[in-house]
């Protein structure tokens, strides 16, 4: 540890850092703990039980909502990732004006408040006659999935050695083969991370879905919101806990993949 590290360290900072982590995790821990509460009244602990998990699994409406969520997330991820990969390749060697315009447009879904996008898309769907259902939800999710997919792919592409592509061209690989055999495999960790982030954000979206779903296309977050509205039962806790743990698992995978790629890049000899 270098000297300046020691000089700047103070006990107060460490205490606040620990408190910040406690603050970030206490709701998650509380929720998971209460999901095992046997008691019907969520606030009074009366014993450990798996029974609320059993009612979640038995609930057909939850099963349908899960299916809807997975269908929407899968299609939106595939759409967004392909569109974002193409865009990342398109700006890679392009002029900075072109890149600036494209990236400005791409960052809009993250900049405009969700509630504004939600009502704007609702108006668009109603006026253009697109029925509110799985189709409208998928179209809407693809909008904010595109930037989530784009940025990891773009940063992976920026870290690639252009010499590799040039070498392939020198060896007479046709453009299509250069793409499939060289660029795509090298990009794949970025594409994977981008796809996973789109998938997670699609699964988790509530506000936009709430507006454009219509009655037939309830997704898991919209269903959970309905449950919270009608009164908090331990079943919501169990369902939320499953949902939380699933997203934690997904984000851990995304993190490990990016880390492995970054480590591999660090150990590679510099050109």
């Amino acid at each position: 540890m270098s000297r300046e590290r020691n000089l700047l360290s103070g006990r107060g900072n460490a205490v606040i850092a620990v408190l910040a982590l406690v603050f970030l995790y206490s709701p998650i821990v509380t929720l998971v703990a209460l999901s095992f509460n046997e008691n019907e009244l969520t606030t009074i602990w009366s014993g450990f039980s798996w029974k609320w998990y059993a009612t979640v699994i038995d609930n057909d409406a939850i099963l349908r909502a899960t299916k809807n969520s997975l269908i929407v997330a899968t299609i939106a991820t595939l759409l967004a990732t392909s569109v974002a990969t193409a865009a990342a390749l398109g700006v890679a060697r392009s002029s900075s004006t072109h890149r600036g315009t494209v990236e400005g447009l791409l960052s809009l879904p993250l900049l405009v408040p969700e509630i504004v996008s939600a009502v704007a898309l609702l108006v668009l769907f109603v006026l253009s006659g697109i029925p509110l259902g799985l189709l409208s939800v998928t179209l809407a999710h693809t909008v904010f999935c595109i930037p989530f997919a784009y940025y990891p792919i773009r940063s992976r592409l920026a870290g690639l050695d252009p010499v590799l592509i040039e070498a392939a061209a020198d060896l007479y690989a046709p453009p299509w083969q250069r793409f499939v055999r060289i660029e795509l495999p090298l990009l794949s960790p970025g594409i994977f991370a981008g796809a996973l982030l789109s998938f997670i954000s699609s699964l988790g979206d509530f506000v936009i879905t709430y507006f454009v779903a219509g009655p037939g296309a309830t997704t898991l977050p919209v269903y959970i919101f309905g449950m919270i509205r009608t009164g908090v039962t331990p079943e919501v806790n169990a369902l939320s806990a499953i949902f939380l743990l699933a997203s934690v698992a997904l984000i851990t995978i995304a993190f490990l993949v990016t880390k492995r790629v970054a480590d591999a890049a660090r150990t590679r000899p510099a050109p």
Binding site: A14, G90, R93, S95, T97, H98
Partner: protein, 295 residues
């Protein structure tokens, strides 16, 4: 200037077209809807243009058609601003020491803390805010904990107040502040800090005169990342705030839901976007000024 190659245009076209169709077009449509008149039973009259939706932001029309000032909506905008500003400040106060701590531990441990900070951000916003209901409501986890410790006897009555909304917002957006602050602190040339110490500066002085000014662009970036989503927040005030701490997001929602006043809802949504653009503009100016001041 080099012209853009056809290949590059073709590759970016799908993304650009998609966002033009499902991001730009809906916003323009909102602009159009905001100039229309509301139909008697919800919906809009397509051929009558009025400025009623914008008048309604400030004025109220009585039965005789007379306009009088109405501060209700401005109050909601002001409350949203206040809550967003307080939240930004709170996340700042927590993030700077946390990020400072992260720069003083080993790289491995810092990466692990970074991971721990990122994970909640990726878990579902609705579920995380719902968890606060379990903690904050009367007889909830917080009450039980405090009563067990003998610190309080009665419920704190925090849920469904602006305080609960503030807690929810701070919780939701804290990672947005910690990450850029840490990145900015980590990037500082460590020799500058060493030099300051060698020249006899105290720890406090090194922090206030060297470290914080150098990290300020990153800290400001974090502040804007927290402030913007806070201003348009919907989930936290909806679940935790109750009726008395409605924010702009909830007001917009109610115009498209229960009130069925699309033109007014569209006008409100556009005002929100306008306020955000203005905030971004001010931020850019501050940033540019700081960049000029630093060599």
């Amino acid at each position: 200037m080099k012209s853009v190659r056809t290949r590059d245009l073709a590759l970016t076209a799908p993304a650009v077209l998609y966002l033009a169709l499902f991001m730009i077009a809906p916003l323009l449509l909102m602009l159009y809807v905001s100039t229309l008149e509301r139909a008697p039973f919800g919906g809009v009259l397509w051929d009558t243009h009025t400025s009623v939706a914008y008048e309604k932001l400030l004025f109220e029309r009585d039965f005789a058609g007379k306009l009088s000032f109405n501060g209700d909506y401005i109050a909601i905008f002001a409350r949203s601003f206040r809550l967003a500003a307080i939240t930004t400040l709170l996340t700042l106060v927590v993030s700077v020491p946390t990020a400072l701590y992260m720069t003083t531990v080993s790289r491995r441990r810092a990466a692990f803390i970074l991971f721990l900070v990122t994970v909640p951000f990726w878990t579902n916003l609705l579920v995380r805010n719902f968890a606060w209901i379990l903690i904050l409501r009367n007889g909830g986890a917080l009450d039980q904990g405090l009563q067990w410790l003998g610190l309080t006897k009665q419920s704190l009555d925090i849920l469904y107040t602006p305080l609960a909304t503030g807690i929810g917002l701070t919780y939701s957006f804290l990672p947005f502040m910690i990450l850029p602050t840490y990145v900015a602190l980590e990037r500082i040339d460590k020799r500058l800090i060493e030099a300051a110490f060698d020249l006899g500066a105290t720890r406090r002085r090194v922090l206030s005169r060297v470290v914080l000014p150098l990290a300020m662009p990153g800290i400001l970036a974090g502040a804007i990342l927290v402030f913007i989503p806070c201003l348009g927040a919907y989930v936290s005030p909806e679940l935790l705030g109750g009726g008395k701490s409605m924010m702009i997001g909830n007001l917009v929602q109610s115009q498209f839901g229960a009130s069925r006043n699309w033109p007014f809802g569209a006008a409100l949504a556009l005002m929100l976007v306008a306020v955000l653009l203005l905030t971004l503009l001010v931020w850019r100016l501050v940033q540019a000024r700081m960049a000029r001041r630093q060599p």
